[in-house]
Amino acid sequence: MGEYLLEVQDLKTYFKVKAGRVRAVDGVSFSVRSGERVGLVGESGCGKSVTALSIMRLLPKPAGEQAGGSILFEDEDLLSMPESNMRQIRGGKIGMIFQDPMTCLNPTMTVGKQISEALRIHLKLSNEGAKARAISLLDQVGIPAAHERISSFPHQFSGGMRQRVMIAMALACNPKLLVADEPTTALDVTVQAQILELINGVCHDFGTAVIMITHDLGVVAGMTDRVVVMYAGKVMETAPTEEIFANPLHPYTLGLLASVPRLDAVRQEQLKTIEGAPPDLLKPPPGCPFMPRCAFARAICKTMPPLTAVSGSMQHQKACWIDVTDPSQQAYAERRRQARAASQQAALAAFAETTTQSGDQATVPDDAEHAEKEG
């Protein structure tokens, strides 16, 4: 095996819809080492879940199609593998847990049977052997009275417990890689920490690598060794976790980090947002997808920048032409922001006038700057 457990190379996944093809993942590359914890971050709709499903080849048919790229797992390309081989990998070598544990467990099968199913398929255990191991797994994930709970049904557990069951199910056959798609989003805050701790602990004990998909930067900070920032189906920046928090070099990452409210911020200061909205993935504009919202954007950004290493650190890569640490660029960005704010005020004022004059009820979006940046 090469250096990496999993290598995603230029992955492209599109969805066929009536209006055309949605480019959900449009050239994503990253890698995961054995035992490493990688965080896949981005806002809703940026393609992180689709990336995960592509790795597992669980895309919804017939709409989803693999349009290019390769995914090397232990040096074998998952995308060109026959389905029967892939089935052995699913659950056996790569496990996956999903966001909503309520709907992700079969309501008419006992928890024990659902866990044993994976054990019998991959490890070829007998019924008793599978049951015994299932009990010990439930124990490990922290479910009390495991030997009784093994014959309970999913609806008899609470949300956090159900997620623990999912984790037990995914890790039952000791996979090398765990893909966790927003495992804590549907849970209470208090339970979130417990589940994350659990994932951390179990994966550390078994040496399982983790791809943690989330939109929550807090989760990323505590749980990952490396971060991959995605936007509109492309990778914007990737770096070790500490590095990316200390030294973000992509305007989008900057925006993400700035938008997290701080406890020590001045009170009644306006919350910082990234203006605008994500692009239409049916007809994405050429070039960098973040360009319409980026304060640093220049004419050159109409060509997509490649993911290149930052000077001084091979681990840190960004896909951007601009050096955001350069003061002149920052000044430019500041002037840009002010100009935008001014024109936004003007547009709002003009709109207010027209509505009071004519009393019309035209459906115009709340956010007048949509009109400027859409395209």
Partner: protein
């Protein structure tokens, strides 16, 4: 020229807001709700086909006699060769054992079958709506009593009771048949509407109407009922088809419409005895019944899909 050079060469003024020119059509054209439903219905080809067939059928049965001037009741026993005849130019649907023209009878019978189906549906839906609305809206003991009555009527298998009732009361006239069939048509509608009312009466618009002083009657029929209209319409359409079938069954067994009144069911009854000699008699009326009911079913399903707010794009 590398990146940094490019950047330093351009000045602030040169940089334009990207993609300003392409603003999308933000003000959407709103279609009215009726239009949306109509469009969805029209996309369903089988449903449209069914509706088209029904329109043609109505024209055939009600306008047809003005074009095809043959009396359905003229008996022609003298010329035996012309009885039990196969379709020909003079008699496009053939004749029966006493020489009556089947095309004219199909039209006359169609009138009866269709009217029986429609009127019994209307009465049945009317009663069912009333009962369901009262039960669902008031709840409590009214609901209990009304639902018990519904259960009683539903408990006995339909045809048994129908046969008994029509054996007793039927005098062969379509009017009685309408009433008898309507007597059983209301149960499903009542249940359905009661369910809708139970759900809808908790909604805010009911509370709002109450606060401006609407009395119960107004609430039920001006506010809640229009919102429950969708399932009612679907049920009504499907019910017509079911009632036509019921009528034909009754008439075939001699309990429903009886000679001299004609309906498609009686035509089949007459033709049944001559099935091996002249199958056309049964086939024609049978196919007419089948096609009519099929069209009502297709239309009903199309309406259900068109009215369903949660239907995903197929």
């Amino acid at each position: 020229m590398d990146v940094s050079e490019q950047l330093s060469l351009s000045s602030f003024d040169e940089e334009i807001e990207p993609f300003l020119a392409e603003t999308s059509e933000l003000v959407q054209k709103r279609r009215s709700q009726g239009r949306i439903i109509f469009d969805r219905f029209m996309r369903n080809y089988t449903a449209v086909g069914g509706a088209a067939f029904l329109i043609l059928l109505f024209i055939f049965c009600f306008v047809g006699p003005y074009i095809w001037h043959v009396n359905p009741n003229t008996v022609n026993v003298l010329h035996v060769k012309e009885t039990l005849a196969n379709p020909s130019l003079t008699h496009p649907f053939g004749t029966d054992d006493v020489g009556r023209d089947q095309l004219a009878r199909a039209m006359a019978g169609g009138q009866v079958s269709l009217i029986v189906g429609l009127l019994s549906m209307l009465i049945g839906i009317g009663i069912g709506t009333l009962i369901g609305a009262l039960a669902g809206f008031y709840g409590g003991w009214i609901d209990n009593v009304l639902m018990r009555i519904t259960d009683v009527v539903l408990a006995v298998p339909l045809y048994l009771l129908l046969f008994v009732l029509s054996a007793a009361f039927s005098d062969g006239k379509p009017q009685t048949v309408i009433l008898i069939i309507a007597f059983f048509s209301w149960t499903y509608a009542a249940r359905l509407i009661r369910g809708e009312f139970l759900a809808l009466k908790e909604r805010e618009f009911v509370m709002a109407a109450r606060t401006i002083g609407a009395n119960n009657f107004r609430l039920m029929f001006r506010h809640i009922l229009p919102n429950a209209a969708g399932p009612i319409i679907v049920n009504a359409t499907l019910l017509v088809g079911a009632n036509i079938i019921t009528e034909s069954v009754l008439s075939y067994f001699g309990f429903g419409v009886q000679p001299p009144n004609a309906s498609w069911g009686t035509m089949i009854a007459t033709g049944d005895s001559f099935f091996d000699v002249d199958p056309w008699l049964v086939f024609i009326s049978g196919l007419l019944i089948f096609a009519t009911v099929l069209s009502f079913n297709l239309m009903g399903d199309g309406l259900r899909d068109a009215l369903d707010p949660y239907m995903t794009e197929r």
